[in-house]
Symmetry: C2
Subunit: 541 residues, 2 copies
């Protein structure tokens, strides 16, 4: 790693410095210095990223916290850019988490292609604000195009439909958000407003509020139905939107680990019998956060169509699988959704933070129109008229460029690698006597746990009470193994709790793997299992 010269200098905030900071340097010397910094960023970090996983130990965190306790803002400049970059490379990066390591298979954050850093830098350099045309111009037009491309990928309408809507200033096929959480919130916001339409003196829920909506419609409750695997952003949306998060009703999963359709139908019947309750949406999951499982979307679409209920698909994780000709069939039925969430910073491999939400009906977003006099005037191209967020960077430029560089096929290769590697990993887990596969992968996520042979035997004949006791022992073992492996710093698998077995009231601790890094090989997965075995053995000693 080349060293940046640490020049002593008078660090003063004066007008000359400010000018140098704002005016981009004209002379060749200054230009070269700036480029050198970028080299540091690209390759100084790179060296770090190849070396360790670095997920935190509890103890090191306490030590770390002690170093970040000064809360006074320095009056004078403390460091030059060169020193700040050096500090980040030398001090911050080694204490960050190496999410790019192929041994980091615990969360939905992973390596990104190196060109994404270039594209993010371009976006920052242009610093457009796509809330309005006057601060974004072509970027607003480009955003509408990429939104139409994604809409087409999901809903597959015909060419005339897209020609009509791609650059239509009166309609919106979707919006960029900052992630799946605000995408889901936006979808639930639209669904809430749509399902509680104007009635008599009640003009709209957006204007008159939730209480007036309930009164006008003779209701006391508005609910959303989703499987127990629903992302916690849906509960949060319930709280924010005034529904109350207890009214985001979880439905059990069946033996396929996806929503139990019989239980769903029974719950719908029960709710429909209560004239004071309205179902504002049913959510299907296309790639559950914890298990990767996809709900039976066609059957959910049938139910929603029959009852005229908003059908939302949370494909934050699974959406890009549509780009794989080999596996897009797994998402069949998504084209019948009313709204669909897809994250950019997950399987589109974009840097933090970017998500999207799409609506089949190009007028659906009219439910949440807001104007302002200084921007976002009615009838304008201003994209900020129909978004939860205000000012927004042009993340659409990154997605558009990435699709040009990778092609659908490039993304498909990564998706297929993940699904197929996860399949191999499942077989490897099944072959090892110490392990039990808990949720087999439908996509590229699976969960499993360590179950020592003697406990396996006991579990087979145990009654419910005894099974509970044994499972508590297993939970303890698996928590310990995950922690020790995490703290060792070579590899990282996450853990969660879920109802692993039907008719079991216990939430079982499981180890959770997300295979999205194309560099994660079967050999690496073998090493990770080996490490877990050896940790278990050391625990047993």
């Amino acid at each position: 790693m080349p060293k940046i010269k640490n020049e002593p200098s008078s660090l003063v905030a004066d007008w000359n410095t400010l000018h140098r900071v704002f005016i981009r340097p004209e002379d060749e010397g200054s230009r070269q210095t700036l480029v050198k910094y970028m080299e540091q960023i690209l390759f100084g970090l790179h060296d770090f990223l190849n070396k360790h996983v670095g997920v935190t130990e509890e103890i090191s965190l306490v030590k770390l916290a002690k170093e970040y306790k000064d809360t006074k803002i320095n009056q004078d400049p403390q460091k030059k850019l060169a020193d700040v970059i050096k500090d980040i490379i030398d001090e911050i990066a080694p204490r960050a988490v190496n999410v790019a390591s192929p041994y980091f298979i615990g969360h939905m954050t992973s390596a990104i292609p190196f060109f994404m850093v270039h594209l993010k830098a371009i976006t920052a350099a242009l610093n457009q604000n796509v809330i309005k045309l006057e601060t974004s111009k072509v970027l607003s037009v480009l955003e509408k195009q990429i939104l139409a491309k994604m809409h087409r990928m999901i809903f597959k309408f015909d060419e005339p439909f897209y020609l009509e809507h791609v650059q239509n200033t009166e309609t919106s096929l979707g919006v960029f958000t900052t992630g799946g959480t605000t995408a889901n919130l936006t979808a639930m916001w639209v669904a809430r407003n749509k399902s509680l339409p104007p009635k008599g003196k009640f003009e709209s829920i957006e204007k008159n509020g939730f209480f007036e909506a309930m009164k006008a419609h003779g209701l006391e409750r508005a609910v959303v139905l989703v499987s127990r695997r629903g992302h916690f952003s849906l509960k949060k949306a319930g709280g924010i939107l005034g529904l109350g998060n207890q009214n985001i009703i979880p439905i059990d999963v069946d033996s396929n680990r996806s929503i139990d359709l019989e239980k769903l139908k029974a719950k719908i019947k029960e709710l429909k019998a209560d004239k004071k309750t309205r179902i504002i949406a049913i959510v299907g999951i296309a790639g559950a956060t914890e298990t990767g499982i996809i709900d039976p979307l066609p059957q959910l679409a049938d139910i929603c169509e029959a009852l005229d209920i908003h059908f939302h698909v949370d494909a934050a994780w699974g959406g890009p699988v549509l780009l794989s000709k080999k596996y897009c069939h797994l998402l069949k039925g998504i084209e019948r959704a009313d709204s669909v969430t897809i994250d950019c910073h997950k399987q589109f491999y974009m840097p933090m933070t970017s998500g999207m939400v799409y609506f089949k009906d190009p007028k659906a977003l009219d439910q949440i129109v807001y104007h302002a006099r200084y921007v976002n005037r009615p009838g304008s191209v201003d994209l900020g008229i129909k978004t939860l967020e205000g000012s927004r960077e042009a993340n659409s430029l990154i997605l558009d460029s990435a699709l040009k560089i990778m092609g659908a096929k490039g993304y498909a290769l990564m998706i297929e690698h993940g699904i197929e590697t996860a399949g191999q990993f499942a077989r490897m887990i099944r072959q090892r006597p110490l392990f039990q596969l808990v949720t087999p992968p439908q996509l590229n996520i699976l969960t499993y746990r360590v179950v020592p042979l003697d406990i396996q035997k006991k579990l087979k004949t145990a009654d419910r009470k005894k099974r509970q006791k044994l499972n508590a022992v297993l939970d303890d073992i698996n928590i310990k193994i995950q922690r020790i492996q995490r703290e060792a710093g070579f590899s990282f698998v996450s853990r969660t709790r879920l109802k692993a077995f039907r008719d079991d009231h216990h939430n079982t601790v499981v180890l959770r793997c997300v295979i999205m890094n194309p560099m994660t090989t079967v050999d690496i997965l073998d090493e990770i299992l080996d490490e877990q075995e050896s940790i278990f053995k050391s625990l047993a000693e």
Copy 2:
């Protein structure tokens, strides 16, 4: 601008390419190519940014839209990174808006110091997700530190307070958001929940919902009071949170252009008389979006304290003025707020998109706690437990680094330049007979309009009806001038409508200037006024 060699190549999506894309290049040749791309990004864009303002003409937009109509996703890769960068520099950048131009004084988007691009690139390269410790480690710790620094800047508690809370995993001094809109929404969310506490069987509004909250408290309405100058995100928050946006009640401004305290008190009295209404918050503005005006914060604090109402200050724009020893007195009273919004991508000069919201009470954010089993477990350092948004990039690293490079004094210089240049600009407008200053600047924003001498005379003696007619003529003139100047592409001033004069029911069209670019000089402002004068003359011909 150096040319990137456009090599013909077989653009295929295959496993080898993927590996090259993901594995950062090891050999010196590839490294140099990547650095060359960054040079293009830094200086290719730079060349563009020095040349034109480029705010759109209506007509060019229609033409532009025609070029962005293809909605099919390409199956194969279309372009190499080099070509994508070239296209962005040659095709996209010239059609974007040059928000960095010192002649672009129309919106709150401006030039950013060049080092911000480096810092954004670092953030993307590290790609940490601060929703949880397991994907961010030191960045979560660093974020808590910078949150404490900002809290201290606003609320000025003592050292023991900050030592207790800076790294306390049980408390939160604030959160990063994606901007002022979600910052305000978060503040209103907390205020809503706090003002409708548990009662009998009613556990919480978050759990049981808005309807149950109203019933439990014997209410029919929850309202927020804010001046007519309040940002439209507050109305949006009213809609989202279930209050209904008609219950974000606008209070007229007085002759100081800030909230009319007498009218506010009268409205509070009226609302208090209605036992079915609860005031959940009063919002003071510290830098109104349209006029830059600051509400009388100490008086608002008095009112809120006396009535035990949540006091929110929307300092999205004005917050960083606290760093100027010369002007921080303008924000006196902000330290008595319950919550404060500050944007990072405004006067902290960070790239899109980043905002923050602070709470005086370190337990206030407990109102909106959400846990999940796979992350964000209770008692953890996971920052995502108390945020509206889910996954988040480490924008705190950019703010922290910028404060190290600039110091409070560096920021103060920019703030002071803006305020003082706006003051000079106001004097220049007053000196020119053709112009009328409508809202004098308190910070660095002002509005004015063109009023030809003959109409000025007529206005002096006109009755109300005639004044309305004359104002309509003036509106038309000012809309035309703003449009023609915008389309000419040399400079950009925005326009809005506001009640310019007391006892006037007409919303007057005004030209709006935001002086935040340190390169914007008095000479440039003179040129902009000259251009407007000459446009007016050409219209009159």
